[in-house]
């Protein structure tokens, strides 16, 4: 018994050390946000002299007219939230019909979706722009320079992985549940929305986190669709304004990074309790 206990203590200690080392880069990020640009490059490991500099830097960024941080924060939030809702709704319902329908065409469609995960962004990057422009010229629907176009694109790029994950999870839900509901008189779509959709909570959470992280931090797609320096910007675009061809304003960059990371960490800390509960609940079921 004692041997087990001392093994546990050692494990605890080792893990704690590894954990702290793991978070070392964050430590670097934080202490350097409180320095001016020059000190950062000359004395990277030194503790900051005035911690209040962080708030000065943050204020600089928040009020800068060039960066328009508050508005890009709003945009990032809007785009991310709406994209997540759209992706989860449409992907889950698509995955469900693909699982329940055993035809060959269903299998082919699923495979095509999964295969698309492999497509490198470079192939479609520029043609996407020309294509969106053609659509505008022909139909007048504006996809470029709008949040709507960006959200549509995120659905397009995100549905492969999302459908893949929903598909795997739905396969494990017993069909008897649905049969029972149909016997009770539910229409097919009611079966999905009333029975299946709620059961998918843990996988909804997982998919949301994965897509959310990627969308919140994404740089290339908003850059191409929203364009740099236009009215509507997301946070990564705004942060990039600090990096020059030769000159990088490190103090502002690091602070801006910090300001971009904090909301997502806070959100994650709140959500993760719920997610872990969901994941555990999901697994106990099986």
């Amino acid at each position: 018994m004692t041997e087990n206990k001392s093994r546990l203590v050692v494990l605890e200690a080792v893990t704690a050390i590894v954990f702290l080392l793991f978070l070392f880069p964050f430590f670097i990020l934080v202490i350097n946000s409180a320095k001016d640009a020059f000190s950062i490059t000359q004395y990277p490991m030194a503790m900051p002299e005035k911690w209040s500099l962080i708030f000065q830097n943050m204020k600089k960024i928040w009020t800068s007219e060039n960066i328009r941080y508050p508005s890009s924060f709003m945009t990032s939030t809007t785009v991310t939230v709406l994209s997540l809702i759209v992706i989860n709704t449409f992907s889950s319902q698509a995955a469900w019909v693909l699982v329940r329908n055993n035809s060959r065409i269903s299998k082919i469609i699923f495979l095509v979706f999964v295969a698309a995960m492999v497509i490198p962004f470079q192939i479609v990057m520029f043609p996407l722009l020309s294509w969106y422009r053609k659509i505008y010229v022909v139909t007048g629907i504006k996809l470029l320079r709008t949040q709507g176009g960006l959200i549509l694109s995120y659905l397009g790029f995100g549905l492969s992985l999302s459908i893949f994950m929903f598909h795997g999870f739905i396969k494990s839900i017993p069909y008897e549940l649905e049969e029972a509901a149909t016997i009770d008189g539910c229409r097919k779509d009611q079966v999905f929305y009333r029975i299946i959709f709620p059961l998918l909570t843990p996988i909804h959470a997982t998919v949301m986190i994965l897509n959310g992280i990627w969308i919140w931090n994404d740089y290339l797609l908003p850059l191409l669709i929203l364009g740099k320096g236009n009215k509507v910007q997301t946070i990564p675009l705004a942060v990039a304004n600090f990096a020059g061809a030769y000159v990088k304003q490190w103090d502002l960059i690091l602070t801006a990074i910090l300001m971009a990371i904090i909301p997502i960490i806070v959100f994650f800390l709140f959500a993760q309790k719920y997610i872990i509960k969901g994941m555990v609940a999901g697994s106990i079921k099986s």
């Binding site: 001016d36 640009a37 020059f38 490059t41 000359q42 007219e65 060039n66 809007t78 709406l82 520029f126 722009l129 020309s130 969106y132 422009r133 505008y136 010229v137 504006k142 470029l144 320079r145 709008t146 949040q147 709507g148 176009g149 959200i151 740089y219 850059l223 191409l224 929203l226 364009g227 740099k228 320096g229 236009n230 009215k231 509507v232 990039a240 304004n241 600090f242 990096a243 020059g244 061809a245 030769y246 000159v247 990088k248 490190w250």
Partner: protein
């Protein structure tokens, strides 16, 4: 209900800007984020005075996105700016189809460094920049070295040797702050490379350039140049040389850890931020055994006007106003800290290195910038790795010369 409202908001996008002002709206895209703030402030002033709206977009960053990529993306999206930047002939060729002829503009007569092709003027010079070997004057006098003597290889070699032996006394880590790392290829393959192309030659002389473009290499000149590169690498701080970024390289000079800096007058704002007040100026590059008494001065980039723009007149006016109005001149020199390329502008920038450039230019001791006659691909992807290998110590001088020769021969 909420969804519908949100949806309409989301698809409305961003085209209802300050478009309620009378007059035209023009977009200017440039690649110096360090002057982005000053330029936007000036644009506001210009907007109020003229009733037009100038929108300034700055793209930059070797790693985030380059101007070239952004322009291509905007062109594909049908959103090409009205005014944008080209650096030289290669950029010009890329956009030749839509660059407007500006030969008859008022500012053309005031400058000698506009971008021209086949006798026509296409590019508005943004500023005048120059580089040479920036030196710490106080330190050199302490070491008993006269900067005026530094104009050839031998002089530099003995100066570097002397300074190196006095490292502890002077408190420096290395004699010269030089960078050749992966992100700093522009220091070696653009600027230092230019010494090979134009040091010691009359301004505008393209003889070496044309030879190299044909694959013919003047071995004597190349050998002397390789000696110079070897010297710089030998007396440079190894950490900065192999992995240092721009801030590290300039910082070393600014904090007096190095006596020389291989950069140009654009570092003035960084020097200022470091509170470096010691006396400094430029000396020529010692890339030849004969004396080369001059530094490299030219316009680094040019504004060009999109010939497909719907607001050509407003764009032309924007450029003219920059040169001929008091606010425009104030922006160029005082706010953006640039050396004006126009003889009618009488203001002078505050930085020591900028003043040094102006001094050399006033004495007519200038050599041209010829590196942009070689494609960006050639400089960044072919030459830069060669310099990097040499700096790393992976190849020796003989191999460096051989690889450079091979690279040029591949151009024909």
């Amino acid at each position: 209900m909420v969804m519908t409202a949100l949806t309409s908001l989301v698809f409305a996008g961003g085209n209802n800007e300050a478009g309620t002002s009378k007059g035209a709206t023009i977009t200017l895209m440039q690649n110096k984020p360090e002057i982005d703030g000053a330029l936007k402030d000036y644009a506001k002033i210009w907007n109020e005075k003229t009733g037009n709206t100038a929108v300034v977009k700055s793209v930059g960053g070797s790693s985030s996105i380059t101007l070239g990529q952004q322009l291509k993306a905007d062109y594909a999206a049908g959103d090409m700016p009205d005014i944008f930047i080209i650096a030289g002939i290669e950029d010009y060729k890329e956009w030749e189809g839509i660059i407007l002829d500006l030969s008859n503009e008022k500012w053309v007569k005031e400058t000698s460094v506009a971008f021209t092709k086949d006798g026509k003027v296409y590019g508005f010079p943004v500023a005048v920049e120059g580089w040479g070997m920036a030196y710490n004057a106080d330190m050199l006098s302490k070491a008993g070295i006269d900067p005026a003597s530094l104009d050839n290889y031998e002089a530099y070699r003995s100066a570097f040797e002397k300074l190196d032996s006095m490292k502890d006394k002077l408190g420096i880590d290395s004699v010269v702050s030089m960078a050749a790392g992966p992100e700093m290829g522009w220091v070696t393959a653009h600027h230092n490379f230019n010494s090979l192309l134009s040091n010691g030659l009359p301004y505008g002389d393209m003889s070496v350039v044309n030879q190299l473009l044909k694959g013919q290499v003047d071995m004597k000149r190349l050998n002397e140049y390789a000696d110079w590169v070897e010297l710089l690498f030998k007396y440079a701080d190894k950490a900065i040389l192999t992995t240092g970024n721009y801030d590290a390289q300039v910082g070393a000079f600014a904090t007096q850890k190095a006596a020389f800096l291989h950069q140009g007058n654009w570092v003035d704002p960084n020097i200022k931020a470091a509170n470096a007040t010691f006396k400094m100026a430029f000396a020529p590059h010692g890339s030849m055994h004969t004396a080369t008494d001059g530094i490299f001065v030219a316009a680094p980039s040019f504004y060009v006007i999109n010939s497909e723009s719907k607001n050509i007149e407003a764009a032309k006016q924007f450029l003219n106003d920059m040169v001929f109005t008091q606010e425009g001149q104030d922006f160029m020199v005082n706010k953006a800290g640039m050396i004006p390329a126009y003889s009618n502008v009488k203001l002078n920038p505050a930085g020591q290195l900028s003043k040094s450039v102006q001094q050399w230019a006033a004495e007519g001791k200038v050599y041209s910038w010829n590196q942009y006659n070689f494609t960006g691909d050639f400089r960044d992807l072919t030459l830069a790795p060669i310099y990097n290998q040499f700096a790393n110590g992976s190849i020796d001088k003989a191999k460096f010369i051989e690889l450079m020769k091979k690279a040029f021969e591949g151009l024909k």
